[in-house]
């Protein structure tokens, strides 16, 4: 009989619990660390100056939200790639339009900033923006953004033929109040023009419309023209470091609102804006047979005191080219007339309307003259007016542009008018008029003498007393006739009694006509018909 083999049962030692627990705790720590750590991002910069691994912080509103974990070169070796870890709490800040820039000490025209980093070292500032979250690769800004991402407002593009004093960060003013800033500036080599990206902050973006004009307010402008001497300055900041202002030119109404990214011309100064505030214009040549000294480009062209355009230039080159140069030929002056000033609309269509109107007006006597705008400076301006007595003239052409006939103006015109006035005075029949006036005065004197006699008479002296007495009597008489006077009351009563008596007499007369003997034999009284009761 076989015996059962009894084997001793082997059990796991309790000591194995220690590594198992340690393994579980370690795994838990790894998991929680992985779970709590924020996203890793990559920021590309032009340079890594001052940025150090595990030392340079990433801040948002001065709160540390991440740290740089590595600094290296980009794949194409053209830039620096900064690896950073963002706290999990700050992950929603990593939006599509988030911006990163390195805060370092800066000293510039816009002021001094970042002095705090002199001791602490540079840090990276995060500007979250307003886009969708989830982006991990960013291109860092080398300069501080003028306008933080997500700011409400209006982006504009300003074009200028000249660069110069305006640059990024310069203020944009509306009536001297800062409403925006220039963000960037660039020069287009092909177009040979300067382009400025400008930003107008809300709610001031409503001030910009299609008719707005932008001009450079840098420094101080000084100008003497036919309108006098004018000095223009912006704010102290624009005087020192440059700036742009905008507004509506004189006599122009606001236009429709503009969209984001609208383009505007940047005028060199306010005077240039006022010289040509309209886009559409027609150029005419005025040929003057007198001195044009004091007539400058930009001088106003007025129609009966209302500005209609500006002087563009004096065509000296055309004067020289003329065959008749040296023989006392007229001076060609190029002027620009703008239909927008006539409320015709600043559109190409209005040019045809203006063209036809000028042609008709010339037929009716429209002439251009030179007038003195400023006696101190001797500045001249061009005056357009209808001269009914002007000698007949027609529109011509000069250097490819239509001409408007001219007349002598300024001192020459004054001389002409003075001469005409003297001629008219000479033609007046003064001698006859003086004789007639003498006779009239003599007659007037005799009339006044007769009137004096009447006034001095005794009857006239007594007239006031008589009038006073008559008026007093009249007042007393009127008092007796007032509605509440005794006379009127008695009169009313008498009239009423008379009324009754007449009514009775009327009845008596009727009776007698029916029965003449009624006085002796009274008629039998007839009964009145009786009103019956309502059914």
């Amino acid at each position: 009989m076989a015996e059962a083999e009894i084997q001793e049962r082997r059990s796991i030692s309790v000591i194995w619990l220690v590594p198992i627990v340690a393994l579980v705790l370690g795994g838990w720590l790894v998991f929680t660390t992985w779970r709590d750590q924020g996203p890793a991002i990559t920021i590309s910069f032009a340079t890594a100056e001052g940025i150090e691994t595990d030392k340079t912080k990433i801040r948002f509103r001065s709160v540390v939200v991440g740290v740089v974990e590595g600094v290296g070169l980009s794949d194409d070796l053209s830039r620096v790639a900064v690896e950073a870890r963002i706290d999990q709490q700050a992950e929603p800040l990593l939006r599509q339009d988030a911006q990163f820039f390195v805060v370092r000490p800066r000293v510039g025209a816009q002021g001094v900033s970042g002095l705090g980093t002199l001791l602490s070292g540079p840090y990276i500032e995060l500007v979250p923006g307003t886009g969708a979250a989830g982006r991990r690769d960013f291109v860092g800004l080398d300069e501080l953004p003028v306008t933080p991402a997500g700011t409400d407002g209006l982006h504009l593009v300003l074009e200028s033929e000249q660069g110069g004093s305006v640059g990024p960060g310069n203020p944009i003013l509306y009536r001297g109040f800062q409403v925006g800033r220039v963000e960037t500036s660039r020069f287009d080599v092909d177009a040979r023009r300067m382009y400025y990206d400008a930003f107008i902050e809300a709610p001031y973006d409503d001030l910009v419309n299609a008719h707005s004009r932008f001009w450079n307010t840098s420094g101080v402008s000084f100008e003497a023209s036919a309108d006098g001497v004018e000095i223009h300055t912006g704010s102290l900041e624009t005087v020192l470091s440059g700036g742009i202002a905008f507004g509506l030119p004189e006599d122009i109404r606001p236009g429709p609102p503009v969209q984001d990214g609208a383009r505007f011309d940047l005028y060199p100064n306010l005077a240039k804006v006022n010289q040509r505030p309209y886009r559409e214009s027609i150029e005419y040549v005025l040929q003057f047979d007198q001195s044009v000294r004091g007539l400058r480009p930009g001088a106003p062209v007025e129609y009966r005191g209302i500005r209609t355009g500006s002087v563009v230039d004096i065509l000296l080159d055309q004067l020289v080219d003329e065959e008749s140069f040296g023989s006392g030929s007229s001076i060609p002056v190029l002027v620009r007339i703008e239909p927008g000033r006539f409320e015709l609309g600043d559109t190409p269509e209005s040019l045809h309307v203006l063209e036809g109107g000028v042609a008709r007006a010339v037929g009716n006597g429209l002439r251009a003259t030179l007038s003195t705008g400023n006696l101190l400076t001797g500045s001249l301006y061009v005056a357009l007016d209808i001269h009914e007595n002007a000698p007949p003239a027609e529109m011509g052409e000069f250097a490819g542009r239509p001409t408007i006939p001219t007349m002598g103006g300024g001192l020459d015109g004054l001389q002409t008018q003075l001469s005409m006035l003297l001629d008219k005075l000479n033609d007046l029949p003064l001698e006859g008029a003086v004789e007639s006036a003498d006779a009239t005065l003599a007659q007037l004197e005799s009339t006044l003498a007769a009137l004096d006699e009447v006034i001095a008479s005794e009857a006239m002296k007594q007239l006031p007393a008589t009038l006073t007495k008559s008026i007093a009597q009249l007042e007393r008489t009127l008092a007796t006739l007032s509605p509440d006077s005794d006379l009127v009351r008695r009169l009313s009563h008498t009239l009423a009694e008379l009324d009754k008596t007449l009514a009775r007499l009327d009845g008596l007369a009727t009776t007698l006509s029916e029965k003449p003997n009624a006085l002796i034999f009274p008629i039998r009284s007839e009964q009145d018909p009786e009103p019956p009761r309502a059914p």
Binding site: I520, F521, P522, D528, E530, P531, R533
Partner: protein
């Protein structure tokens, strides 16, 4: 001789005595008024005034009018108004308007400068009919002063049945019609701004 003279006198005066001995119907007079007692003590100047009432020409006589046939009016000989009917109409309208408006309505034109509303009434018909009715046809005009601009113009036509036969009942019915006219004037005044 004496006997003959006496006989002649009797022959002459007897017919006259016979004629005078006939009975005559007495004349009765009526007053058009509405029951209204003005408030005692001082009262403020009236803002509403009633101009003199104008009546049709056939009402400018003392007899009470009764329409006895088509276009035939009888003016009673023995039933007369105690005063011209336009006076009674004005007094009745004043009383009824004062009662309805709650303030005195003036008829004194010397105070017309204080009036902000003046009521002009023209009565075209006021008489009884053989159908047992009283008839009142009138129109009135409200102005912003005695001689001011007209603010409203209305017409009125009313009929009231006679409770009993006779002129006293006719007068009562006519007074009731004048009260209805006053009610319409008061409503027109209240409708003005």
């Amino acid at each position: 001789m004496k006997t003959a003279l006496a006989s002649l006198l009797v022959a002459l005066f007897l017919p006259a005595l016979v004629a005078c001995s006939g009975t005559t119907t007495p004349v009765r007079t009526y007053l058009m008024r509405a029951p209204y007692t003005p408030p005692s003590g001082p009262v403020a100047d009236a803002q509403v005034g009633l101009a003199p009432v104008v009546v049709a020409e056939y009402l400018e006589q003392p007899g009470i009018a009764l329409l006895v046939g088509p276009n035939e009016v009888n003016s009673a000989q023995h039933h007369r108004w105690a005063e011209p009917v336009r006076i009674g109409l004005r007094a009745t309208l004043q009383a009824e308007l004062s009662r309805r408006l709650g303030s005195a309505v003036s008829v004194d034109t010397t105070d017309a400068g204080e009036w902000t509303r003046a009521v002009w009434v023209h009565v075209d018909q006021l008489h009884g009919t053989l159908d047992g009715e009283a008839v009142l046809v009138a129109n009135f005009r409200i102005a912003d002063g005695l001689h001011g601009t007209t603010l409203a113009r209305h017409g009125f036509e009313g009929r009231a049945p006679l409770a009993t036969a006779g002129h006293p009942a006719l007068v009562e019915a006519e007074i009731a019609l004048v009260a209805q006219l006053a009610e319409q004037i008061a409503q027109a005044l209240g409708a003005l701004p």
